[in-house]
């Protein structure tokens, strides 16, 4: 062999001696070979970190998915509705009544589309009946809610008419005894249309049915109600003031309007009114959700730390087991730095692998939960990219102490340990 016959020595100087060096690709290969030599152990080692990262990825993904779901459900209809009602007054205080000109007052505000007033009418125990005759054995009288509505209320609740017409301001001013039936109420009373000038009686009062509703988008209680004009209710049943104001606003106008309406309606006692808009419960819900999210993120972080300790532990055990290998590598020319780099890279790779697996399992969980709930899975694209990076960093930190221990070994002692 040619390589054995090197002739002796030119004069050597200390400066002329090259230090030991290695290719980075070789370092990577050695680290990978070290890990994948024991795949079973590798998997057990990364399990803790993997679970931690799975929890983090799944938590972030699921909260994103759930939030997207809430936003899409938060539709335009709910977002443009404000209801105002009066709070019960304290003892000896004047009642917090809504004014009769509520619609006019609110129409002065910007962003209002339609306003109506709606009140439940106290008809005592009067029953509603469509037939003037009482047939024995056949029930013709029903306990139905009677509501008094201003003409514009039907616009505000987006009522659709199946038959007939809706009452106007004239009906109210003249206190005409006319009524509009919700579809369920009409069915119960056996009234199909207004063509035959059907009438109903509420107690002893007879009302002409001028219209039957097809449906409403808001205030679904109207579907089974008898609706009479406000003037009529005032005249016949002594309605003292409207009980609630229902308004439809422009999109995005609700937050501002809900702060203004109480002042517009009762500048003297705005606090006596209760303004309900769909925005109010929203922050509460997201508050609860972010608490849960923080809890899960903390659990994920904790699991990550436990996982890091696991990696550190197993890497340390591996260093102790591989003392002979370290000695051999030193004899083959590895410096302390080479040894430390290899073990650092091994633990960082373990962390990286656990990050990749954790991101995969986490995303699978998000997709599975979304599929089960028929949601659209939403994920920040940075999450699956960051998870392996965080895993790698965790592994790197975990490998620091074992790598230091490995590098500190004296080659002579390491070789004595045998393989």
């Amino acid at each position: 062999m040619k390589m054995l016959t090197r002739e002796a020595a030119e004069v050597r100087t200390a400066e002329g001696v090259q230090p030991s060096r290695m290719w980075f690709s070789d370092l990577i290969f050695e680290a990978f070979a070290g890990i994948f030599a024991r795949p079973g152990r590798m998997f057990m080692t990364i399990l803790g970190t993997m679970i931690g990262l799975t929890a983090l990825v799944a938590t972030l993904g699921l909260s994103r998915t759930a939030n997207a779901q809430i936003i899409s459900r938060f539709d335009e209809l709910a977002a443009t509705e404000i209801t105002v009602s009066s709070r019960p007054a304290g003892e000896g205080q004047p009642a917090n009544e809504l004014p009769w000109d509520a619609s006019e007052r609110i129409h002065r505000l910007n962003g209002v589309v339609a306003v109506g007033t709606l009140s439940a009418v106290d008809v005592k125990d009067a029953l509603v009946s469509a037939s003037p005759f009482v047939e024995p054995g056949h029930r013709s009288e029903f306990k139905l809610p009677v509501e008094a509505a201003s003409p514009e209320l039907f616009t505000a609740v987006r009522a659709r008419v199946r038959s007939g017409r809706l009452p106007d301001e004239g009906h109210s001013q003249r206190a005409d005894k006319v009524a509009v039936l919700g579809p369920n109420a009409a069915e119960q009373l056996g009234i199909n249309g207004v063509a035959n000038l059907e009438s109903i009686s509420i107690g002893d009062e007879v009302f002409l049915v001028i219209g039957i509703l097809e449906g409403v988008e808001r205030k679904h209680t109207l579907l089974s109600s008898v609706i009479i004009p406000e003037g009529t209710a005032r005249d016949l049943y002594g309605l003292r003031a409207p009980q609630s104001v229902i308004m439809e606003t422009d999109v995005g106008a609700t937050p501002l309007l809900s702060r203004q309406v109480a002042h517009a309606l009762r500048p003297d006692a705005p606090l006596g009114l209760k303004v309900t808009s769909p925005q109010q419960p929203q922050p509460v819900r997201s508050g609860v959700q972010s608490d849960l999210e923080v809890l899960f993120l903390m659990l994920g972080g904790l699991s990550l730390i436990v996982g890091a300790i696991g990696i550190a532990n197993v890497t340390l055990v591996a260093v102790m087991e591989r003392v002979g290998e370290i000695g051999l590598r030193r004899a083959l020319g590895a410096t302390r730095r080479h040894i430390a780099s290899q073990f650092l890279l091994e633990s960082a790779t373990l962390g990286l692998v656990s990050g990749v697996l954790g991101a995969c399992v986490g995303m699978l969980i998000v997709v599975a939960v979304a599929a089960y709930q028929t949601w659209t899975p939403v994920m920040d694209p940075m999450v699956p990219i960051l998870a392996p990076l965080i895993g790698g960093l965790t592994g790197l930190l975990a490998g620091f102490y074992p790598a230091l221990r490995a590098a500190r070994l004296e080659p002579v002692d390491a070789l004595r340990a045998g393989m």
Binding site: L4, T5, A9, A14, S20, R21, A33, G333, R336
Partner: protein, 223 residues
């Protein structure tokens, strides 16, 4: 006259500072290029310490070690590692093969710390395996080999970088007599090709194969 490859002058090595153990005392030894020297001694005589110092795995406490006339004490740790990767080949009693690497990978491992190009590494390793008589076994794991074959793998690994000095620590200590003879014949072949060899052993029969024999006892060279 040529300069000796190894020149030890009054080399001493003491372990521990609280209860010091003297492993070597005032050792003077010169090894010339192309020599085959056997250091014979009982266990605990300091012969392994001597080999470790020559192989730059350990530093002497006192005295000086010149390699090719250069004082090794002047070198940094990475430079000494560089010497180990290029100038020395090590053979150990228990072979020191990585159990999870194939024969070929074990031999290729020696080039990793020399920054030799990956291209051709496989061929060089195969050539070294052929030189020790292990052609066709390159994909075997160490556990599938006999003791003698494992030591041949270790020798191939030591040779692949073209060392100037082969350091053998009880190369036949774990082998039966037939395998041992095969290994010694292999070493003799290497020596005949001009390789400088330093071998430590407790067995005078093994030492008899060497060109020159030195005896060590209680950390001191005899005669």
């Amino acid at each position: 006259m040529t300069r000796p490859i190894v020149a030890l002058a009054e080399v001493g090595r003491t372990f521990g500072s609280i209860a010091p153990v003297v492993a070597l005392r005032e050792v003077d030894l010169e090894v010339d290029v192309g020599e085959w020297v056997a250091v014979v001694g009982a266990s605990g005589s300091g012969k392994t310490t001597l080999l470790n110092i020559i192989g730059c795995l350990d530093r002497p406490t006192t005295g000086s070690y010149r390699l090719d006339g250069m004082d090794v004490a002047d070198l940094s740790d990475p430079q000494r590692a560089g010497l180990r990767s290029r100038d020395f080949g090590f053979i150990f009693q228990s072979f020191h093969l990585l159990s999870y690497r194939t024969v070929l990978e074990s031999v290729m491992l020696a080039e990793v710390y020399r920054r030799r190009p990956r291209a051709g590494r496989r061929d060089r390793a195969l050539a070294a395996l052929e030189a020790v008589g292990l052609e066709g076994r390159d994909e075997f794991l160490p556990t599938q080999l006999s003791g003698g074959q494992r030591q041949r793998v270790a020798i191939a690994r030591a040779l692949v970088n073209g060392p100037r000095l082969l350091l053998c620590d009880e190369p036949t200590g774990n082998l039966d007599s037939i395998s041992a003879k095969g290994i010694l014949e292999l070493i003799r072949g290497l020596h005949s090709q001009g390789l400088t060899i330093m071998m430590i052993t407790h067995d005078p029969g093994v030492a008899a194969w060497a060109q020159r024999k030195v005896t060590i006892a209680d950390g001191q060279l005899q005669g």
